[in-house]
């Protein structure tokens, strides 16, 4: 599924767009723990570094200050391989996350959000742990959203997000790795929110 398709699905989920519906666009970065690790003459691991992340979400009120959100979050960066203290990067890893969330008021200008979805790994290069492509694990996330009005219909927003998923690629699977690697990620972004 391509990125534009996910955007369309995200938009349809909260249809019909009407009064009080908002759209939010943020740009930032995401820091994550290792996707895979092992002991091969010493510790080796594979991670995503800090990819640039953009998130687009559409929110619609569902009553009593709560909103339902559909979000597409894309990241573009590189795989980082650490081998016994020696590092290398494998360029061109894209992640696309699709989440459905609920948010609600927490404090003045601050809202909480909680949701679930899927995260798709799309490597540019089929090598190493991604030789047979990238997996699409489920994703759980929670975050905080701060906003400040800029005009009647635009707000400045800052978003902090924690999420986690379980990672194991088909290549790792075929090589006999079992269980899953828990991957914890923290993302920060700033952007604008528009009310319709």
């Amino acid at each position: 599924m391509q990125f534009p398709s996910l955007l369309v699905i995200g938009a349809l989920v909260v249809a019909p767009i009407g009064a009080q519906t908002t759209a939010r666009l943020t740009v930032g970065g995401t820091l994550g723990t290792a996707l895979a690790s092992d002991q091969l003459g010493g510790p080796v691991s594979l991670g995503t570094g800090v990819p640039v992340t953009a998130a687009l979400s559409v929110a619609h009120p569902i009553g009593a200050g709560y909103r339902a959100l559909a979000e597409v979050r894309g990241g573009r960066g590189a795989l980082r391989a650490d081998n016994n203290g020696e590092s290398s990067t494998i360029p061109g890893l894209t992640t696309v996350g699709l989440m459905l969330l609920v948010d609600g008021p927490l404090a003045h200008r601050v809202r909480w959000e909680l949701g679930a979805g899927f995260l798709s790994y799309r490597p540019a290069e089929l090598s190493g742990a991604f030789s047979k492509g990238g997996p699409t694990p489920w994703l759980l996330g929670a975050g905080l959203n701060w906003s400040r009005p800029l005009s009647e219909s635009f707000d400045l927003v800052a978003n902090g997000r924690y999420d986690f998923h379980q990672f194991r690629s088909r290549q790792l699977d075929s090589r006999g790795y079992t269980q899953y690697q828990s991957v914890h990620r923290i993302g920060l972004g700033v952007g604008i929110e528009r009310s319709f």
Binding site: L40, N83, F164, Y177, T178, H184
Partner: protein, 220 residues
């Protein structure tokens, strides 16, 4: 109590780690050379991460492009943590490895490691030039793969694939001239297995994490 079950499951999921597979023992990958008197010197090689991706040149019109591409995919897929990556380049003057579809030249000289393969329909050789002190590999490495009999032999493409994978194993750092003793490995001296065995993979994993005695130099 039942309310706790989802929380416990979630906590378990959030804390899990991959469990590594059991690996088969590797075969010998080192080269042992006489080093004055009765002393034996051990030579090992692997590509430093800063040299990745390794640049490989094969002429456009040569039948070896596809077999080399297959060999690259195999070894890249075998090493899961980005230990080896290679790319085909169009300019031989920038290559770390030059592959040719011609017989290897005779007379390899003193400062050169020659590693041969003798598959049923084709022959392969990898020349790795070293400095006199046996501490550096002078790039480019040269790989030769050529037909034993008629170039029209229908089994030649498969033989090229086997031999390309074998020679790339040498390029990767499996530089034992005695090769694997098992016919089930692509690094067997007269290889017939078209792929990578568990032992090939296990050996490549070990090679990729050693502290090598030889380091590459002369990259252009």
């Amino acid at each position: 109590m039942r309310r706790l079950i989802p929380a416990v499951l979630l906590l378990g999921a959030a804390c899990s780690d991959l469990i590594s597979p059991t690996r088969v023992p590797p075969y010998e990958y080192r080269q042992f050379v006489a080093s004055g008197g009765s002393r034996i010197d051990t030579l090992t090689f692997r590509w430093p991460r800063s040299f990745l991706p390794v640049r490989i040149w094969v002429a456009d019109d040569e039948p070896l492009r596809q077999p080399i591409s297959t060999a690259i995919s195999r070894w890249q897929g075998a090493l899961l943590f980005g230990e080896f990556r290679a790319e085909m380049v169009t300019d031989s003057s920038r290559a770390d490895v030059i592959v040719r579809n011609v017989p290897s030249p005779g007379g390899i000289g003193l400062s050169r490691i020659r590693l041969d393969a003798l598959a049923p329909e084709c022959i392969g050789a990898t020349d790795i030039r070293t400095d006199a002190a046996l501490t550096q590999v002078i790039l480019p490495m040269r790989v030769y793969i050529w037909p034993r009999f008629s170039p029209q032999n229908p089994n030649l493409p498969a033989c090229y694939e086997i031999t390309a994978t074998h020679e790339l194993g040498h390029v990767l750092g499996i530089i034992n001239p005695n090769h694997s003793p098992d016919i089930g490995d692509v690094m067997f001296s007269n290889p017939v297995f078209n792929g990578l065995s568990d032992r090939d993979i296990s050996t490549a994993e070990v090679v990729s994490h050693i502290t090598p005695t030889l380091t590459p130099t002369g990259r252009r």
